[in-house]
Amino acid sequence: MILDFPGGVRPLSRTKLGKSNIEYISACSAVCIKADEGAKTVAAIGSRVLRGSLIGESGGTPVYASVAGVFRGIMELEDNRYFVVMNSGEDGEEAVYSPESRAITELNCADICESARRLSVVETRSGAPLWKMLENANGKFRRLVIDCTETDASGAINYRLCIEQAKALVGGAKLLLQATGALKCVFAAEHYRNAALESILKYANDEKLFAIAQLDEKYPYGDRAIMEALYLTTLDKNETAFDRGIFIVSPETAVALYNSMAQGMPMLDRYITVCGDEIAQGKNLCVPRGITLHDISVICGGIKKGGRLIENSLLSGKLASGALSDCTRTLIAAKKQTKARTECISCGKCADACPIRLMPLNVLAGDIDDLRDNCIYCGACEFICPSGIPLLKLIKKRCNAEAEQ
């Protein structure tokens, strides 16, 4: 059965990258790994570091160099602070760690949580450190959901991960089940991606533990949409799936957790799709964490003039800047599309597309009570509007104008 959620828009086209293998990239000119306010450096500034050596600590999580090179300390770039490691392009040596020796079933929640912290594993849907999400998780969760949907219809990385890293994915899922105390793990993916689900099922053959869910080919997928589709429950405003006992993670998180624990190596790589009309060659990539956008565009043959990299989704994503962030799973090179604006024809398509069941066209008449409180700025309404009305922009503008008063 294909599961559905209210609202959402169907993509104009499917991704063309579903068949291209993940390319593993280890060399780049520099990496910038996000640091928070209280971040400390551990390695000496100016010293040579190996790939995988400890360079600092940020928010209680150790930070490792994801390429070999010269450590430059913490730098400030465009309002953000980063640990910077410069690399001259060569593949460096890797630091050596010892793998986890215990079997999965011997590990308890605290062990896995501690490993996730030590190995600096992040949850790539939200960009938060996994260990913080797992803290005291034991028994709090009923279900683990591995969200294999893409952030945008043009992305394919989650699909490729399911196919190429199925073993690690299922291993990671088992670890997370162990850590969260959830009874069952659900793999959810768009319905036309049967190949992904089948390849997972090869490893996840325990019917009591694993289930698959085929979701409709609609976007945007978020916690809310997944809860609607899988469990037919509506999250209240300001409520997260966590509050309902559902632990949702990206497949990349599970893969990273498993691989890191199996090899003892911290999470140094990110899996992303780079695609879009404005880039020379779309690719599925495995790149060092914190790789700069410049390096990415060089790897993909350069961005065409006027194109810009958008994070995660063409519907609602922000312009990417600086370095790859921990919650970016798809980078899309696109131009701002302008559509001739005509008057609203009251067709109601925006209301149909809204996943929150708002009436976006009300913004035109100045009736924004519902919109201000509930809009998640997903952009579906503006995407679908045949009159080219910049609904999302108007909603943001009106709501901000009111907030300032």
Partner: protein, 327 residues
């Protein structure tokens, strides 16, 4: 960061301007049947109304409302013009479509509450014309009696030679149209240009639904109550089934249920609202027909519901997800 760049970076390629095209295609089956049944005069009437509506609409937008950056030619104006012709008899003198074009443009540009149209343009035109020129608007003639497409107004004696009583007028006398339901379904009965072609109208609906311009639920919501009510309150003169189908197929019911209920500006935006709108129209049309001696009240009913539609919309606003109902 550049201010004027913001999500979404992608839009559907469907535009509101294309809507006019979809509707023109939708009108084609009805138009073809109408020309087949009533001859080339239909073309003249439609051309006058369509071209004049477009021209007037553009003029009004450009010079009265001073549309920015500039007014666009709106094909929907032509669609409304043609639809207004569809509710005239073929014998209408050529000044009638001129008036209807003016009325269409007026109704199209009256905006009130929430930038909504107050009245459905072509229904407005039909209603006003029926009020002002009842004799001209009910001079029905036998189909396949072709009139000259160019004579400005048709001689009364010529009309009388072919004059017939329309199914709706039969019903006013308490009897029913005798030539069978099928004649009415395919459009061999007499009546207004577009309204007789029920089967062709169904084709239009199918096209509009495929192109997502129409919602068949609203249409059905209008037809079903009429059918049920006609079964419950039959006429003495006929078999109840026969009567029920005659009621639906006569007059403007199907025509309005397809074209008026799906005119997005003047019906509620919400899905439930559309159904309520359709059902209310259906019930009111049946009631007015029963008590209102055979006149086509459908137009006035639709106008009434147009006025009510912003309120229906308010009441049928979907509950916002994740927000508890206020007590």
């Amino acid at each position: 960061m550049t201010k004027n760049i913001s999500a979404p970076y992608i839009h559907t390629d469907k535009t509101a301007l294309a809507k006019g095209g979809e509707w023109l295609v939708a009108l084609a089956p009805v138009l073809v049947w109408s020309i087949f049944a009533f001859g080339a005069r239909v073309i003249t009437l439609c051309l006058i109304a369509a071209l004049l509506s477009i021209a007037l609409d553009y003029t009004v937008k450009r010079f009265v409302f001073k549309a920015k950056p500039f007014a666009r030619i709106d094909i929907m104006a032509a669609v409304y013009g043609i639809l207004s012709v569809f509710s005239m008899p073929v014998t209408a003198p050529l000044w009638i479509p001129i008036i209807s074009a003016v009325l269409v443009v007026i109704a199209k540009n009256i905006r009130v509450f929430r930038a909504k149209r107050l009245f459905n343009p072509f229904v407005f035109s039909a209603a006003v014309l029926n009020l002002c020129f009842p004799a001209k608007m009910t001079a029905f003639t036998r189909p396949f009696a072709y009139f000259s497409p160019f004579s400005f107004s048709i001689d009364e004696r010529l009309i009388d030679g072919y004059r017939v009583i329309s199914p709706l007028q039969y019903m006013a006398d308490g009897s029913v149209y005798e030539d069978g339901v099928l004649a009415q379904l395919y459009g061999y009965a007499s009546g207004n240009l577009g309204e007789i072609a029920v089967a062709a109208t169904a084709l239009s609906l199918i096209w509009l639904c495929i192109r997502r311009e129409a919602d068949w639920k609203g249409t059905l919501a209008m037809l079903v109550p009429v059918l049920l009510l006609a079964l419950v309150f039959p006429s003495d003169d006929a078999e109840s089934n026969y009567y029920a189908f005659s009621v639906i197929l006569s007059g403007a019911i199907v025509f309005l249920s397809v074209f008026a209920v799906n005119e997005s500006h003047t019906v509620p935006v919400t899905k439930l609202g559309k159904i309520i709108f359709g059902a209310a129209c259906g019930v009111l049309i049946f009631v007015t027909r029963k008590i209102g001696n055979g006149y086509e009240w459908g137009y006035f009913v639709v106008l009434l519901m147009n006025i009510a539609s912003p309120f229906i919309e308010k009441f049928t606003k979907p509950r916002v997800l994740g927000v508890k109902k206020e007590k």
